[in-house]
């Protein structure tokens, strides 16, 4: 219940901010932050709650983006109709990749490498085949109207993205309070123990990758509607994959609000460094990278984890140090 209330509150605040703010910079900031949050939250479903660290989430993003563009350009579909098709395409690709990797028991870095490889294969295929526009990419003509899912102002896109972000947050909240979510986290923490009490790890992971791919494909479709253009580098390149996972790592994997915070903070940081140090080429990325390293070094559980520790410290709770030491000794004695 608390999760639902906080999600609704978040939605109302963002929607109100978008309605009231007039500055184009502020609206762009909200739009791009929401887009980053959507990427992060969809990665969080599989990576944070499922513990399956994908390095190639751009795969689902790209499939969604191309499906959205091709359905409009080649088949002449209305973009509103193309949107669910794009999401479904992402889910199908997610299930296929999931079936291939999870059934053969790929985990950890192997899973990360295989997802990266899938995204790369799709990128190369997208350059080579004709129906993706090859190296030129696909350009969706601009006809700004609601029926055409193109908006004259940033506000329309903000509401579209906000809808998906809220759906992703509800999906995450459901993971926290359902049998499926409990099974998913059990498989993440210890697959064999979960199997012993009746959890089918392959089925659970397939469910997670399907949800994750759905939101990622939605983000890809939104990208096409926002920028009216897609090429293979944008769609399947590593930039999107990294953006999706870095937001989660910085914010806190396996939490409801961590990815939201992480993605928004990183986007703000990127914009700030670009504006402040833009004249010196490359320096903004150096600072961005340095801050990233510092966050990962000093807040291993992400911003939300660090916030939790600070709150505990302020409450005056002592970290339980003596007890764990005893544990270790006991364990050593047993070994």
């Amino acid at each position: 219940m608390r999760d639902i209330r906080s999600i609704v509150l978040f939605g109302v605040i963002v929607a109100a901010a978008a309605a009231l703010l007039q500055s184009g910079v502020a609206l762009t900031f909200i739009m791009m932050s929401l887009y980053a949050v959507l990427l992060a939250q969809s990665w969080n479903i599989l990576g944070g709650y499922g513990g399956q660290l994908s390095f190639g989430h751009a795969l689902f993003f790209g499939v969604g983006a191309y499906a959205q563009a091709i359905a409009q350009l080649t088949w002449g579909w209305n973009p509103w109709l193309a949107l669910p098709f794009a999401i479904a395409a992402g889910v199908v690709v997610g299930l296929i990749v999931g079936a291939l990797t999870f059934r053969s028991g790929l985990k950890g870095s192997y899973f990360a490498l295989v997802t990266l490889a899938f995204a790369e294969v799709f990128r190369i295929v997208a350059v080579s085949v004709p129906f993706t526009g090859g190296g030129v990419g696909l350009m969706v003509p601009l006809h700004a109207s609601i029926a055409n899912l193109q908006f004259g102002s940033r506000r329309g896109y903000i509401y579209l993205l906000l809808g998906f972000v809220i759906a992703a947050l509800f999906c995450t909240a459901w993971l926290r309070h359902s049998r499926f979510g409990a099974y998913l986290q059990a498989v993440r923490d210890n697959e064999n123990a979960a199997r012993a009490i009746g959890v089918d790890p392959v089925r659970v992971k397939l469910g997670a990758i399907a949800w994750s791919a759905a939101f990622m494909a939605a983000a890809g479709a939104c990208y096409v509607q926002m920028f009216q253009y897609i090429d293979s580098g944008i769609a399947f390149g590593s930039t999107i994959s990294v953006e999706a996972l870095v937001g989660v790592i910085v914010g806190g994997a396996g939490t409801l609000w961590g990815p939201v915070l992480g993605a928004a903070v990183l986007y703000a940081l990127g914009e700030a460094t670009r504006n402040l140090f833009g004249e010196v080429p490359g320096i903004s990325m150096v600072i961005y990278g340095a801050v990233l390293v510092l966050i990962v070094m000093f807040m291993p559980r992400g911003l939300s984890g660090a916030g939790l520790s600070v709150r505990r410290m302020l409450k005056g709770a002592q970290p339980p140090q003596p007890a764990p030491q005893q544990d270790e000794r006991k364990e050593e004695a047993r070994v």
Binding site: H177, S178, R179, A182, Y183, Q185, A186, R188, D189, N190, N192, A193, A194, R195, A196, I197, G198, V199, D200, P201, G254, P320, A323, P324, Q326, D327, K330, E331, R334
Partner: protein, 251 residues
């Protein structure tokens, strides 16, 4: 013996050149507590892995409830009521004790809230109720062993395979656990347990199987088995007659 709940017939598995389990056949009767004992490295845990489906036997069959479950995936046999615990405890470390146990309860209870309630009731049974909201990673070894048991119990097994749930507990904790295990059997659950704590085996088990170097070398009541010369030789090795006396003197 068609009434047996679990029947192992000719189970064998080889790892490279090592015959870990060789031609093991035995029965577990319903509503009994059967103990599986043997020296370290005898293949007890491997045998458990074969029974619960974590390993596929090279030869032999496992019958459970009159059906062949040889090599059936553990998550499938768990649905039939066959659940195991692990010797090296495997908590879901990031989650609280309550959430850990609820994962087991979810096997027969899709509703989250009712599964969490069921978890509380199970925690009560194994004396974990005061730790319900602690992260599982913060528990002591004794606590983790009880958590392992609680999680398996929450799945409402018919046959529970316990792999050294008493190891690493101090004597007073063992005294606490013995009635808990007896209560599980009295509640209608059949238990097969690997155990080194002979005090518990002597007071709990109705039947004991002895495994040494991958082979079953004896079976019978606890008293029969502990006085069997083959068992004494295999289990305690030579020159440990003193320890034998110690164990034998305190049934």
């Amino acid at each position: 013996m068609s009434e047996a709940l679990l029947q192992a017939r000719g189970l064998s598995i080889t790892f490279g050149g090592l015959k870990a389990v060789q031609d093991v056949s035995f029965d577990v009767l319903p509503r009994t507590l059967t103990a599986l004992v043997g020296p370290n490295g005898a293949g007890k845990t491997t045998l458990f892995a074969l029974l619960s489906g974590f390993l596929k036997p090279g030869a032999g069959t496992v019958q459970y409830l009159g059906r062949d479950i040889t090599g059936m995936a553990p998550q499938k046999s768990a649905r039939l009521g066959l659940t195991r615990t692990f010797q090296i405890v495997q908590p879901f470390g990031a989650q609280t004790v309550r959430e850990n146990i609820a994962v087991g309860a979810h096997l027969h209870e899709p509703d989250r809230r009712r599964a969490l309630q069921a978890a509380e009731a199970v925690a009560q049974r194994v004396n974990l109720h005061s730790y319900l909201d602690k992260p599982a990673a913060d528990l002591t070894v004794g606590g983790r062993k009880r958590l392992e048991l609680a999680r398996a119990l929450a799945a409402q097994p018919r046959l529970l395979l316990l792999d050294e749930v008493l190891a690493g507990l101090n004597p007073s904790e063992i005294d606490e656990m013995i009635p808990v295990i007896r209560g599980i059997v009295d509640g209608g659950v059949t238990v097969l347990m690997i155990e080194h704590v002979m005090r518990a085996v002597m007071s709990l088990a109705e039947h004991v199987w002895v495994l040494a170097q991958g082979r079953l070398i004896a079976g019978g009541t606890p008293r029969d088995v502990t006085s069997d010369p083959t068992v004494i030789e295999a289990y305690l090795g030579h020159g440990t007659a003193e320890r034998l006396k110690q164990y034998g003197a305190q049934p």
